[in-house]
Symmetry: C3
Subunit: 139 residues, 3 copies
């Protein structure tokens, strides 16, 4: 069994962003030499997501509005010693809605995708460098 690991670093200057990382994962897969197996791609941060969807600008504008509706910035009590900052709670919720990770089949040395599938990184608390973990196992 072959095993491959890589951290991908992303510059995310804005607070929120959706970044297509498919080509970076494909490069990892080539480097790994794995032909048949599974690829795990996950955010290493608890306020960011990795998920699969179409690469369509309009889609991500809608997602941003929708996520703000379902997981708005929450007012928290600053006198509550267990509280977490009110500027961060919504980022955890948005990431739970979009998901931490994807597992993708590897077949004949390629990501085994349907026609419109792309891997996206979704940032909800950016403004600094962030990491995605790629782990590929197989033969």
């Amino acid at each position: 069994m072959k095993s491959y690991r890589k951290e991908i670093w992303l510059e995310v200057p804005t607070r929120r962003a959706f970044i297509n990382i498919t080509k970076k994962i494909e490069a990892c897969l080539r480097e790994s030499g794995v032909r048949e197996g599974l690829a795990l791609v996950n955010s290493m941060h608890t306020t960011a997501a990795v998920f699969i969807d179409d690469d369509e600008k309009g889609l991500y504008r809608q997602y941003e509005m929708w996520l703000e509706q379902l997981a708005p910035v929450v007012a928290t009590d600053p006198n509550d010693e267990d509280t977490i900052g009110e500027d961060i709670m919504d980022a955890h919720m948005k990431r739970q809605l979009m998901g931490r990770e994807v597992v993708v089949a590897v077949t004949e040395g390629r990501l085994d995708f349907g026609h419109w599938e792309n891997i996206f990184y979704g940032e909800f608390d950016g403004g600094r460098k962030k990491r995605v973990l790629v782990k590929i196992i197989g033969e």
Copy 2:
């Protein structure tokens, strides 16, 4: 390491549907000959989900209403060149809520499930043939 891949085709005549595909996945597992490992089952479409839940009619009627509340059909601006069709945005959101894929343990040649676990395909933009990918690795 053994590796197995199969595309399962589903006829989905309606726009929305929930289809129990557990028996089809069990047939794949038998065909694979894998006794210990992991099975990945994912939708190959970005407007359909694969997830695990009980096989109870009443549950899926409730899910349909709930998903319509959380991810209703969205009015989009037809003059916006980046927009995606307003009849499709809700399908992407519903699929994100239900999830693209499941990973199931394979133990002693069977899907290693809790008592009520079944694998479902959730369609949110049907009316044609659709595909689910099954990838099993192990020994």
Copy 3:
């Protein structure tokens, strides 16, 4: 290829709970002897979740309120023969929002985590003993 399986039993006396199970999964990983591979951790119940997030008390108080907003207790028609109990529907929905499973990379014999990542069990229909499945494959 090595393969390891264990059921973890949890006492969950309350209806709802969030329990940090990271140390239990780390103990499984040591027992497995796997150094490089993938670890699947999933709820064996359809009304409970396994997910990754920070270990911060304030976060889980907020999650509880948020999940109640997005997936409240649903009134169902008791004369509907397909209905499922109205005290249980919300638990299925809350679990779909938080997710059934996580897949974690195993690298050099440890869970390959970002700084704040912890594995949590989320219970939405407790009051009895519950099970989590751990399956680890690799070398």
